[in-house]
Symmetry: C2
Subunit: 400 residues, 2 copies
Amino acid sequence: MRRVPDQWLSSILLNMYQRPAVSREEIVRSTQLNGGSVSQALRYLMDSGTILKIGELKSRAGRRRDVLKLNPEAGYFIAVDLETARIRYALTSLVGDIRFRWEQELDFGLGPDISSLLFGIDMVQRNLEPWQQSRVLAIGIACPGMLEGDRLVTAVNLGWERFPLVDKLSEAISIPVFLGASCRAYVLAEQGVGSARNTSNCVYVELGKGIGAGIVVDRRYLEGNRHMAGEFGHITIDPSSDRQCNCGKRGCLEAMASISSIVRQYAKLSGIAALDRDHRHVSEVFEKARRNDSIALEVLDTVAKSIGLGISHLVLLFNPALVILGGELLLGEDLLLPGIKRELANHLPAFWGPPPDVIVTSLGMDIGLKGSALLAFRNSLINADSLKKLTTPLTEAIVM
Amino acid sequence: MRRVPDQWLSSILLNMYQRPAVSREEIVRSTQLNGGSVSQALRYLMDSGTILKIGELKSRAGRRRDVLKLNPEAGYFIAVDLETARIRYALTSLVGDIRFRWEQELDFGLGPDISSLLFGIDMVQRNLEPWQQSRVLAIGIACPGMLEGDRLVTAVNLGWERFPLVDKLSEAISIPVFLGASCRAYVLAEQGVGSARNTSNCVYVELGKGIGAGIVVDRRYLEGNRHMAGEFGHITIDPSSDRQCNCGKRGCLEAMASISSIVRQYAKLSGIAALDRDHRHVSEVFEKARRNDSIALEVLDTVAKSIGLGISHLVLLFNPALVILGGELLLGEDLLLPGIKRELANHLPAFWGPPPDVIVTSLGMDIGLKGSALLAFRNSLINADSLKKLTTPLTEAIVM
């Protein structure tokens, strides 16, 4: 059989991601490939078992059309979400469904060494049957901090400076490794399986240990000149504040509204010494506020105001259709979201009209894993080796 | 002769804009059209006189290559820059060189009526020889405020609300009219003939009666969801300020740093009543500062701080390679720019590295006219009628 161009295959596979059922006609329409190319590529992908026929539609004229979907078992990914407090791992199907999870706790400022990362990856891989091992297409990793050339990681909170993560991992394992900045992975997840599927312009705001933004302009992730766009946590939200940020400045949004800042503010006002585990104690502050503790309510009111003001800058500068909030701070959604929305509205001029929708991610704590899996999927489509695996017939496919 | 596809013509003409001399080979490279298409289109455009051969290059192998440029006299544009205090008009050549100017003063809040606009356009057209009249390809207009569908203008400072400017003008004149938001026109000018020619990510900041930003992401002008991106003047720069903005909010950057705000601040601190003509009096404040008047220096120090802080938000969120400043506030460049740069640097975290270049536009007060001419040029290339004029042989071409 004549080899089908990689680009047709990629285009069709990307298009069918997470769609429960599509027809050839729909694929032609959305890929803008011509009908003949689509038929040829589909035959190839169906022969290899990567695309499944799951039914037939009959038109009134009696013509039959196949109903198709991606075979979730045609390939697997290992998704890794490197947070600052823990690493989450998952084994996912081709379309990012999570089949198995694993977690490692980290100490703040102590980046994981390669051996612990390899251990985590191995723990996930053990859940594959031997015949599935060869179908692991790639490892996708969501990383905090800054990435250079998709290979070097600088993350203050992990203690990494220009750490060659991809090279280090590749010395030990032969599966391709793809890195993406955390916010980029989150945005990918929202675009692929979350709330941003039908939005050309949106902003994802991460509110947790760190604060950052992933910005989508005309469906594309905003990179900026040196891949540093979206440093939302370090805009000076209160020039008169003396509150010190990890970055060295004062009055940054992150210094006013991150998890550790909330815990510190509460501790200071209430005279209680702050403890180590920030993420446990922010829940305590939330609990106290729910029980009408006035200090907790005061702290969260200030936090919501800072975040709302910050988001008003994003709205006025980017004019997004949608703002999606994620991160551990949303454990206090009931306490924070009304204030954030109120403050956003206060900081928009009358001529602006109504503010954009501000919603909380529907992907919860899985957002980083979903994003890493999608990162790995997309990169696999432009990787000749991975694409070859996807077009090699499955000898023993399990059809779900 | 077989008609050449419009797209080839547009692509070549756009590519040759403002380039003093190019070869066929360079056009092939930069348009990515194939060689045969380029030759065919060039022959057509040379026959019509729109492209001129201005010399020959001889290669060592003895092969001759034509050196080409756009004929500036192949078409004319009328460029209109609708400011809030005046309207500037210009007659430009095909490539945006200004041949004649005209200006009308406006009273604040009183939008020009159509008859005065038509009068201004007529004043410009009178400078064409009769045989040139038919070569006026389009009118380009740069507008303050907001545009809907490139036709309806809402500009508080002009007193216009959803004013159907294009339709009104088109009732009286047959030349196509193209509108663009002021900041969009300024950015076009910077990209076409200014400092942003080689930059994929940059920000233009207008500092004058109003404050706004035109943002370029991957060489494209950022529109946002409802064409409202870049509302830089209305981000709340000082939440604690009670300074009222025209938009109804308090503490907007425009309320802290526009021309009228400077005049008002000076008047308040010095006890002098403010007069009407803001743009005259801001120069007085600058003059006083140059003579070490402490009140003027204090006012300008606060203004520079507000602008620098605002620009730090733009830098952290968009990560531009370049920030270009324009507008009447730059009459005080010597007084303001050092403070703006200092404050920008203060609000960037250490990990960010050096701030981007912050420069003042090299296009001066012509920026709006250059931008409108380029707006008209680009729109003419996708307008069948204008393109037809450009491919109709010039019977009496003046070659400059």
